[in-house]
Symmetry: C2
Subunit: 225 residues, 2 copies
Protein backbone atom coordinates (compact mmCIF):
# COMPACT_ATOMS: atom_id res chain seq x y z
CA UNK A 1 0.00 0.00 0.00
CA UNK A 2 3.02 2.36 0.23
CA UNK A 3 2.80 3.25 -3.46
CA UNK A 4 -0.84 4.08 -3.04
CA UNK A 5 -0.23 6.41 -0.17
CA UNK A 6 2.64 8.03 -2.02
CA UNK A 7 0.51 8.72 -5.04
CA UNK A 8 -2.42 9.89 -2.99
CA UNK A 9 -0.27 12.16 -0.91
CA UNK A 10 0.83 14.01 -4.04
CA UNK A 11 -2.71 15.21 -4.40
CA UNK A 12 -3.31 15.78 -0.76
CA UNK A 13 -5.35 18.91 -0.25
CA UNK A 14 -5.21 18.84 3.50
CA UNK A 15 -2.33 21.31 3.63
CA UNK A 16 -4.56 24.01 2.15
CA UNK A 17 -6.36 25.30 5.23
CA UNK A 18 -9.13 27.11 3.37
CA UNK A 19 -10.30 23.79 1.92
CA UNK A 20 -10.63 22.09 5.28
CA UNK A 21 -14.04 21.39 6.74
CA UNK A 22 -13.89 23.61 9.86
CA UNK A 23 -15.15 20.84 12.11
CA UNK A 24 -14.14 22.43 15.39
CA UNK A 25 -15.88 25.74 14.66
CA UNK A 26 -18.98 24.05 13.31
CA UNK A 27 -19.15 21.69 16.30
CA UNK A 28 -18.95 24.65 18.69
CA UNK A 29 -21.66 26.45 16.72
CA UNK A 30 -23.79 23.31 16.86
CA UNK A 31 -23.28 22.99 20.62
CA UNK A 32 -24.32 26.63 21.15
CA UNK A 33 -27.42 26.20 19.00
CA UNK A 34 -28.22 22.91 20.70
CA UNK A 35 -28.60 24.68 24.05
CA UNK A 36 -30.72 27.36 22.40
CA UNK A 37 -33.02 24.69 20.95
CA UNK A 38 -32.90 22.32 23.93
CA UNK A 39 -36.27 20.64 24.36
CA UNK A 40 -37.19 21.40 20.75
CA UNK A 41 -34.51 19.61 18.73
CA UNK A 42 -31.98 16.97 19.64
CA UNK A 43 -28.28 17.94 19.58
CA UNK A 44 -27.93 15.52 16.64
CA UNK A 45 -30.57 17.33 14.61
CA UNK A 46 -28.93 20.67 15.33
CA UNK A 47 -25.49 19.37 14.38
CA UNK A 48 -26.90 17.95 11.13
CA UNK A 49 -28.38 21.34 10.28
CA UNK A 50 -25.12 23.16 10.94
CA UNK A 51 -22.95 20.81 8.87
CA UNK A 52 -25.52 20.52 6.07
CA UNK A 53 -25.95 24.29 5.96
CA UNK A 54 -22.19 24.77 5.75
CA UNK A 55 -21.81 22.34 2.84
CA UNK A 56 -24.83 23.80 1.02
CA UNK A 57 -23.52 27.36 1.29
CA UNK A 58 -20.03 26.30 0.33
CA UNK A 59 -21.16 24.86 -3.00
CA UNK A 60 -21.76 28.37 -4.28
CA UNK A 61 -19.19 30.29 -2.25
CA UNK A 62 -16.05 31.85 -3.67
CA UNK A 63 -14.68 33.08 -0.35
CA UNK A 64 -14.72 30.62 2.52
CA UNK A 65 -13.50 32.85 5.34
CA UNK A 66 -16.83 33.72 6.90
CA UNK A 67 -18.69 30.59 5.83
CA UNK A 68 -18.78 28.91 9.26
CA UNK A 69 -20.40 32.03 10.72
CA UNK A 70 -22.90 32.28 7.87
CA UNK A 71 -23.63 28.56 8.17
CA UNK A 72 -24.43 29.08 11.86
CA UNK A 73 -26.84 31.90 11.04
CA UNK A 74 -28.42 29.93 8.20
CA UNK A 75 -28.81 26.82 10.36
CA UNK A 76 -30.33 28.84 13.22
CA UNK A 77 -32.85 30.45 10.90
CA UNK A 78 -33.77 27.10 9.37
CA UNK A 79 -34.18 25.52 12.80
CA UNK A 80 -36.44 28.36 13.86
CA UNK A 81 -38.47 27.87 10.68
CA UNK A 82 -38.69 24.14 11.35
CA UNK A 83 -39.79 24.74 14.94
CA UNK A 84 -42.43 27.19 13.70
CA UNK A 85 -43.82 24.80 11.12
CA UNK A 86 -44.03 22.06 13.73
CA UNK A 87 -45.74 24.36 16.20
CA UNK A 88 -42.87 23.95 18.66
CA UNK A 89 -42.32 27.70 18.86
CA UNK A 90 -45.12 30.22 18.44
CA UNK A 91 -45.41 32.19 15.23
CA UNK A 92 -46.53 35.60 16.42
CA UNK A 93 -46.57 37.42 13.06
CA UNK A 94 -47.21 36.40 9.44
CA UNK A 95 -44.20 34.76 7.83
CA UNK A 96 -43.40 35.68 4.20
CA UNK A 97 -40.87 33.86 2.04
CA UNK A 98 -39.46 35.49 -1.10
CA UNK A 99 -37.82 33.24 -3.66
CA UNK A 100 -35.87 34.17 -6.78
CA UNK A 101 -33.21 32.30 -8.71
CA UNK A 102 -29.94 33.63 -7.26
CA UNK A 103 -31.15 35.13 -3.96
CA UNK A 104 -28.72 37.94 -4.71
CA UNK A 105 -31.12 40.70 -5.81
CA UNK A 106 -34.89 40.64 -6.05
CA UNK A 107 -35.77 38.33 -3.17
CA UNK A 108 -33.18 40.00 -0.91
CA UNK A 109 -34.61 43.44 -1.67
CA UNK A 110 -38.18 42.26 -1.09
CA UNK A 111 -37.37 40.57 2.22
CA UNK A 112 -35.47 43.61 3.47
CA UNK A 113 -38.16 46.07 2.34
CA UNK A 114 -40.94 44.05 3.97
CA UNK A 115 -38.99 43.89 7.23
CA UNK A 116 -38.26 47.63 6.94
CA UNK A 117 -41.88 48.66 6.42
CA UNK A 118 -43.29 45.92 8.61
CA UNK A 119 -41.80 47.27 11.83
CA UNK A 120 -42.01 43.90 13.50
CA UNK A 121 -45.56 43.14 12.39
CA UNK A 122 -44.39 40.59 9.80
CA UNK A 123 -41.31 38.43 9.42
CA UNK A 124 -39.62 37.78 6.09
CA UNK A 125 -37.16 35.29 4.70
CA UNK A 126 -35.59 34.86 1.27
CA UNK A 127 -33.98 32.03 -0.68
CA UNK A 128 -32.85 31.12 -4.17
CA UNK A 129 -33.41 28.11 -6.37
CA UNK A 130 -29.79 28.44 -7.59
CA UNK A 131 -28.01 30.78 -5.17
CA UNK A 132 -24.78 32.49 -6.13
CA UNK A 133 -21.87 33.54 -3.96
CA UNK A 134 -22.87 37.05 -2.89
CA UNK A 135 -25.46 39.80 -3.13
CA UNK A 136 -24.95 41.99 -6.19
CA UNK A 137 -23.01 45.14 -5.14
CA UNK A 138 -25.34 47.36 -7.17
CA UNK A 139 -28.29 45.96 -5.24
CA UNK A 140 -26.52 46.78 -1.97
CA UNK A 141 -25.95 50.29 -3.34
CA UNK A 142 -29.58 50.81 -4.37
CA UNK A 143 -30.84 49.56 -1.01
CA UNK A 144 -28.31 51.75 0.78
CA UNK A 145 -30.05 54.75 -0.79
CA UNK A 146 -33.13 53.69 1.20
CA UNK A 147 -31.06 53.46 4.36
CA UNK A 148 -31.24 49.66 4.30
CA UNK A 149 -27.99 47.79 4.78
CA UNK A 150 -27.79 44.46 2.95
CA UNK A 151 -24.06 44.19 3.59
CA UNK A 152 -24.37 41.34 6.06
CA UNK A 153 -26.91 39.32 4.09
CA UNK A 154 -25.98 36.36 1.90
CA UNK A 155 -27.62 34.12 -0.73
CA UNK A 156 -29.18 30.96 0.65
CA UNK A 157 -30.48 27.86 -1.11
CA UNK A 158 -34.17 27.10 -0.87
CA UNK A 159 -34.85 24.48 1.80
CA UNK A 160 -38.11 22.83 2.73
CA UNK A 161 -38.09 24.12 6.31
CA UNK A 162 -38.49 27.77 5.30
CA UNK A 163 -41.20 26.86 2.79
CA UNK A 164 -43.06 24.91 5.46
CA UNK A 165 -42.85 27.82 7.91
CA UNK A 166 -44.19 30.43 5.48
CA UNK A 167 -47.74 31.75 5.39
CA UNK A 168 -47.17 33.51 2.09
CA UNK A 169 -44.65 32.44 -0.57
CA UNK A 170 -43.74 35.01 -3.21
CA UNK A 171 -41.82 33.63 -6.17
CA UNK A 172 -40.03 35.86 -8.63
CA UNK A 173 -39.01 33.91 -11.66
CA UNK A 174 -37.83 30.71 -9.97
CA UNK A 175 -40.30 28.64 -11.96
CA UNK A 176 -41.52 25.45 -10.40
CA UNK A 177 -38.54 24.94 -8.13
CA UNK A 178 -40.59 25.80 -5.08
CA UNK A 179 -42.73 22.96 -3.78
CA UNK A 180 -46.21 23.99 -2.74
CA UNK A 181 -47.46 23.00 0.68
CA UNK A 182 -51.19 23.08 1.21
CA UNK A 183 -52.62 25.84 3.36
CA UNK A 184 -50.38 28.62 2.14
CA UNK A 185 -50.83 31.51 -0.20
CA UNK A 186 -48.67 31.74 -3.29
CA UNK A 187 -47.92 34.87 -5.25
CA UNK A 188 -45.86 35.13 -8.40
CA UNK A 189 -44.32 38.51 -9.14
CA UNK A 190 -42.93 39.27 -12.59
CA UNK A 191 -39.89 41.48 -12.06
CA UNK A 192 -36.78 42.26 -14.06
CA UNK A 193 -33.55 40.77 -12.77
CA UNK A 194 -31.29 43.58 -11.46
CA UNK A 195 -28.17 41.54 -12.18
CA UNK A 196 -25.90 43.39 -14.59
CA UNK A 197 -28.26 46.37 -14.92
CA UNK A 198 -27.21 50.01 -14.51
CA UNK A 199 -28.12 51.71 -11.22
CA UNK A 200 -31.08 53.55 -12.79
CA UNK A 201 -32.72 50.25 -13.70
CA UNK A 202 -31.92 48.72 -10.34
CA UNK A 203 -33.59 51.70 -8.67
CA UNK A 204 -36.66 51.19 -10.84
CA UNK A 205 -36.82 47.50 -9.91
CA UNK A 206 -36.28 48.39 -6.24
CA UNK A 207 -39.16 50.88 -6.36
CA UNK A 208 -41.38 48.35 -8.14
CA UNK A 209 -40.64 45.79 -5.41
CA UNK A 210 -41.18 48.46 -2.77
CA UNK A 211 -44.70 49.27 -3.95
CA UNK A 212 -45.62 45.58 -4.20
CA UNK A 213 -44.22 44.92 -0.74
CA UNK A 214 -46.20 47.84 0.74
CA UNK A 215 -49.36 46.53 -0.87
CA UNK A 216 -48.73 43.04 0.48
CA UNK A 217 -48.02 44.47 3.91
CA UNK A 218 -51.31 46.37 3.82
CA UNK A 219 -53.08 43.08 3.09
CA UNK A 220 -51.28 41.08 5.76
CA UNK A 221 -51.40 43.68 8.48
CA UNK A 222 -54.42 45.92 7.95
CA UNK A 223 -53.98 49.26 9.68
CA UNK A 224 -56.53 49.87 12.40
CA UNK A 225 -56.04 53.60 12.86
CA UNK B 1 -59.46 40.54 4.48
CA UNK B 2 -61.83 39.36 1.73
CA UNK B 3 -60.04 41.43 -0.93
CA UNK B 4 -56.77 39.94 0.13
CA UNK B 5 -57.98 36.41 -0.24
CA UNK B 6 -59.56 37.24 -3.54
CA UNK B 7 -56.32 38.63 -4.91
CA UNK B 8 -54.25 35.82 -3.47
CA UNK B 9 -56.59 33.19 -4.82
CA UNK B 10 -56.02 34.50 -8.32
CA UNK B 11 -52.46 33.31 -8.04
CA UNK B 12 -53.24 30.16 -6.19
CA UNK B 13 -51.06 27.34 -7.42
CA UNK B 14 -52.64 24.64 -5.32
CA UNK B 15 -54.84 23.46 -8.14
CA UNK B 16 -51.76 22.40 -10.11
CA UNK B 17 -51.08 18.95 -8.66
CA UNK B 18 -47.54 18.65 -10.00
CA UNK B 19 -46.52 21.66 -7.94
CA UNK B 20 -47.80 20.25 -4.66
CA UNK B 21 -45.41 19.03 -2.04
CA UNK B 22 -46.30 15.30 -1.98
CA UNK B 23 -46.51 15.23 1.79
CA UNK B 24 -48.40 11.97 2.07
CA UNK B 25 -45.95 10.02 -0.11
CA UNK B 26 -42.92 11.57 1.57
CA UNK B 27 -44.33 10.87 5.03
CA UNK B 28 -44.91 7.22 4.11
CA UNK B 29 -41.37 7.00 2.73
CA UNK B 30 -40.06 8.56 5.94
CA UNK B 31 -42.02 6.09 8.08
CA UNK B 32 -40.61 3.15 6.08
CA UNK B 33 -37.07 4.45 6.38
CA UNK B 34 -37.57 5.21 10.07
CA UNK B 35 -38.18 1.51 10.77
CA UNK B 36 -35.15 0.61 8.70
CA UNK B 37 -32.99 3.01 10.73
CA UNK B 38 -34.67 2.39 14.09
CA UNK B 39 -32.07 2.56 16.86
CA UNK B 40 -29.73 4.54 14.61
CA UNK B 41 -31.70 7.68 13.78
CA UNK B 42 -34.82 9.19 15.26
CA UNK B 43 -37.98 9.27 13.11
CA UNK B 44 -37.61 13.07 13.11
CA UNK B 45 -34.11 12.89 11.65
CA UNK B 46 -35.27 10.49 8.97
CA UNK B 47 -38.26 12.67 8.09
CA UNK B 48 -36.01 15.73 7.86
CA UNK B 49 -33.73 13.87 5.44
CA UNK B 50 -36.61 12.78 3.22
CA UNK B 51 -38.21 16.23 2.97
CA UNK B 52 -34.86 18.01 2.60
CA UNK B 53 -33.76 15.56 -0.07
CA UNK B 54 -37.00 16.08 -1.97
CA UNK B 55 -36.66 19.87 -1.95
CA UNK B 56 -32.98 19.73 -2.89
CA UNK B 57 -33.64 17.42 -5.87
CA UNK B 58 -36.61 19.46 -6.94
CA UNK B 59 -34.58 22.65 -7.31
CA UNK B 60 -32.92 21.20 -10.40
CA UNK B 61 -35.68 18.93 -11.66
CA UNK B 62 -37.71 19.52 -14.78
CA UNK B 63 -40.01 16.54 -14.36
CA UNK B 64 -41.50 16.00 -10.92
CA UNK B 65 -43.29 12.70 -11.46
CA UNK B 66 -40.70 10.38 -9.97
CA UNK B 67 -39.17 12.87 -7.55
CA UNK B 68 -40.69 11.43 -4.37
CA UNK B 69 -39.23 8.02 -5.24
CA UNK B 70 -35.83 9.49 -6.04
CA UNK B 71 -35.96 11.57 -2.87
CA UNK B 72 -36.53 8.38 -0.87
CA UNK B 73 -33.53 6.69 -2.50
CA UNK B 74 -31.36 9.79 -2.04
CA UNK B 75 -32.40 10.15 1.61
CA UNK B 76 -31.75 6.45 2.30
CA UNK B 77 -28.28 6.66 0.79
CA UNK B 78 -27.47 9.80 2.74
CA UNK B 79 -28.70 8.23 5.98
CA UNK B 80 -26.54 5.19 5.35
CA UNK B 81 -23.57 7.49 4.70
CA UNK B 82 -24.30 9.38 7.90
CA UNK B 83 -24.56 6.16 9.89
CA UNK B 84 -21.25 4.99 8.39
CA UNK B 85 -19.43 8.20 9.24
CA UNK B 86 -20.72 8.03 12.81
CA UNK B 87 -19.71 4.40 13.14
CA UNK B 88 -23.32 3.38 13.73
CA UNK B 89 -23.23 0.87 10.88
CA UNK B 90 -20.08 -0.96 9.85
CA UNK B 91 -18.24 0.06 6.71
CA UNK B 92 -17.09 -3.22 5.28
CA UNK B 93 -15.45 -1.96 2.08
CA UNK B 94 -13.66 1.25 1.04
CA UNK B 95 -16.05 4.05 0.20
CA UNK B 96 -15.24 6.26 -2.80
CA UNK B 97 -17.03 9.50 -3.63
CA UNK B 98 -16.81 11.00 -7.12
CA UNK B 99 -17.72 14.66 -7.51
CA UNK B 100 -18.13 16.70 -10.68
CA UNK B 101 -20.14 19.83 -11.41
CA UNK B 102 -23.42 18.48 -12.81
CA UNK B 103 -23.34 14.85 -11.62
CA UNK B 104 -24.73 14.02 -15.03
CA UNK B 105 -21.65 12.60 -16.77
CA UNK B 106 -18.14 12.12 -15.43
CA UNK B 107 -18.87 11.35 -11.79
CA UNK B 108 -21.77 9.07 -12.73
CA UNK B 109 -19.58 7.12 -15.16
CA UNK B 110 -16.77 6.82 -12.60
CA UNK B 111 -19.07 5.63 -9.81
CA UNK B 112 -20.72 3.06 -12.07
CA UNK B 113 -17.42 1.82 -13.49
CA UNK B 114 -15.89 1.42 -10.04
CA UNK B 115 -18.93 -0.52 -8.84
CA UNK B 116 -18.81 -2.61 -12.03
CA UNK B 117 -15.15 -3.57 -11.69
CA UNK B 118 -15.20 -3.64 -7.91
CA UNK B 119 -17.54 -6.62 -7.67
CA UNK B 120 -18.59 -5.70 -4.16
CA UNK B 121 -15.08 -5.02 -2.89
CA UNK B 122 -15.60 -1.23 -2.91
CA UNK B 123 -18.64 1.02 -2.71
CA UNK B 124 -19.00 4.20 -4.74
CA UNK B 125 -21.15 7.29 -4.61
CA UNK B 126 -21.35 10.38 -6.80
CA UNK B 127 -22.56 13.95 -6.43
CA UNK B 128 -22.43 17.31 -8.14
CA UNK B 129 -21.60 20.80 -6.94
CA UNK B 130 -24.36 22.14 -9.22
CA UNK B 131 -26.48 19.15 -10.28
CA UNK B 132 -28.75 19.34 -13.31
CA UNK B 133 -32.02 17.58 -13.97
CA UNK B 134 -30.89 14.33 -15.59
CA UNK B 135 -27.98 12.25 -16.77
CA UNK B 136 -26.87 13.16 -20.28
CA UNK B 137 -28.47 10.68 -22.76
CA UNK B 138 -25.19 10.30 -24.65
CA UNK B 139 -23.50 9.27 -21.41
CA UNK B 140 -26.21 6.65 -20.87
CA UNK B 141 -25.58 5.46 -24.43
CA UNK B 142 -21.80 5.23 -24.01
CA UNK B 143 -22.16 3.33 -20.73
CA UNK B 144 -24.75 1.06 -22.31
CA UNK B 145 -22.05 -0.06 -24.73
CA UNK B 146 -20.19 -1.39 -21.67
CA UNK B 147 -23.34 -3.18 -20.52
CA UNK B 148 -23.81 -0.71 -17.68
CA UNK B 149 -27.29 0.76 -17.28
CA UNK B 150 -27.34 4.30 -15.93
CA UNK B 151 -31.02 4.70 -16.77
CA UNK B 152 -32.20 4.67 -13.17
CA UNK B 153 -29.50 6.98 -11.83
CA UNK B 154 -30.04 10.67 -11.22
CA UNK B 155 -27.94 13.77 -10.42
CA UNK B 156 -27.62 14.53 -6.72
CA UNK B 157 -26.32 17.62 -4.93
CA UNK B 158 -23.20 17.27 -2.84
CA UNK B 159 -24.07 16.90 0.84
CA UNK B 160 -21.76 16.68 3.82
CA UNK B 161 -22.91 13.22 4.86
CA UNK B 162 -21.52 11.50 1.77
CA UNK B 163 -18.26 13.46 2.07
CA UNK B 164 -17.95 12.43 5.71
CA UNK B 165 -18.55 8.76 4.84
CA UNK B 166 -15.94 8.61 2.07
CA UNK B 167 -12.46 7.17 2.41
CA UNK B 168 -11.40 8.56 -0.95
CA UNK B 169 -12.84 11.66 -2.60
CA UNK B 170 -12.20 12.09 -6.31
CA UNK B 171 -13.05 15.52 -7.68
CA UNK B 172 -13.35 16.21 -11.39
CA UNK B 173 -13.47 19.91 -12.02
CA UNK B 174 -15.77 20.94 -9.17
CA UNK B 175 -13.17 23.36 -7.83
CA UNK B 176 -13.18 24.06 -4.13
CA UNK B 177 -16.83 23.26 -3.61
CA UNK B 178 -15.98 20.06 -1.78
CA UNK B 179 -15.05 20.57 1.85
CA UNK B 180 -12.12 18.51 3.00
CA UNK B 181 -12.46 16.41 6.11
CA UNK B 182 -9.27 15.28 7.77
CA UNK B 183 -8.30 11.65 7.50
CA UNK B 184 -9.37 11.13 3.90
CA UNK B 185 -7.56 10.89 0.64
CA UNK B 186 -8.29 13.40 -2.08
CA UNK B 187 -7.67 12.94 -5.78
CA UNK B 188 -8.28 15.46 -8.50
CA UNK B 189 -8.79 14.08 -12.00
CA UNK B 190 -8.61 16.37 -15.01
CA UNK B 191 -11.16 15.10 -17.50
CA UNK B 192 -13.09 16.63 -20.38
CA UNK B 193 -16.79 17.23 -19.79
CA UNK B 194 -18.84 14.86 -21.99
CA UNK B 195 -21.75 17.29 -22.07
CA UNK B 196 -22.58 18.26 -25.65
CA UNK B 197 -19.77 16.14 -27.13
CA UNK B 198 -20.23 13.65 -29.97
CA UNK B 199 -20.35 9.95 -29.05
CA UNK B 200 -16.72 9.39 -30.16
CA UNK B 201 -15.48 11.90 -27.62
CA UNK B 202 -17.77 10.57 -24.92
CA UNK B 203 -16.35 7.08 -25.54
CA UNK B 204 -12.83 8.48 -25.21
CA UNK B 205 -13.72 10.15 -21.90
CA UNK B 206 -15.44 6.96 -20.72
CA UNK B 207 -12.34 4.91 -21.53
CA UNK B 208 -10.11 7.45 -19.81
CA UNK B 209 -12.26 7.25 -16.69
CA UNK B 210 -12.31 3.47 -16.97
CA UNK B 211 -8.53 3.16 -16.87
CA UNK B 212 -8.24 5.59 -13.96
CA UNK B 213 -10.96 3.72 -12.08
CA UNK B 214 -9.21 0.38 -12.65
CA UNK B 215 -5.96 1.84 -11.37
CA UNK B 216 -7.68 3.24 -8.29
CA UNK B 217 -9.39 -0.09 -7.68
CA UNK B 218 -6.02 -1.85 -7.88
CA UNK B 219 -4.73 0.50 -5.19
CA UNK B 220 -7.73 0.16 -2.91
CA UNK B 221 -8.20 -3.57 -3.27
CA UNK B 222 -4.85 -5.17 -4.04
CA UNK B 223 -5.32 -8.53 -5.68
CA UNK B 224 -3.96 -11.38 -3.65
CA UNK B 225 -3.93 -14.06 -6.29
Amino acid sequence: MSDVNEELRTHDRRDQPELLMPEAVLSRTAADLASKYAGVFSPQTVERYVFESYTALRLHAKVHTHLPTLAGRFAADRLTALAQSQGAVPKTVPEVLFICVHNSGRSQMAAALLAHHGLGRVHSRSAGSAPIDAIAPIVIEAMGEFGIDLGSEFPKPLTDDVVAAADVVVSMGCGEACPVYPGKRYLDWTLDDPDGQPIEDVRRIRDDIDSRVRELLGQLVPTTD
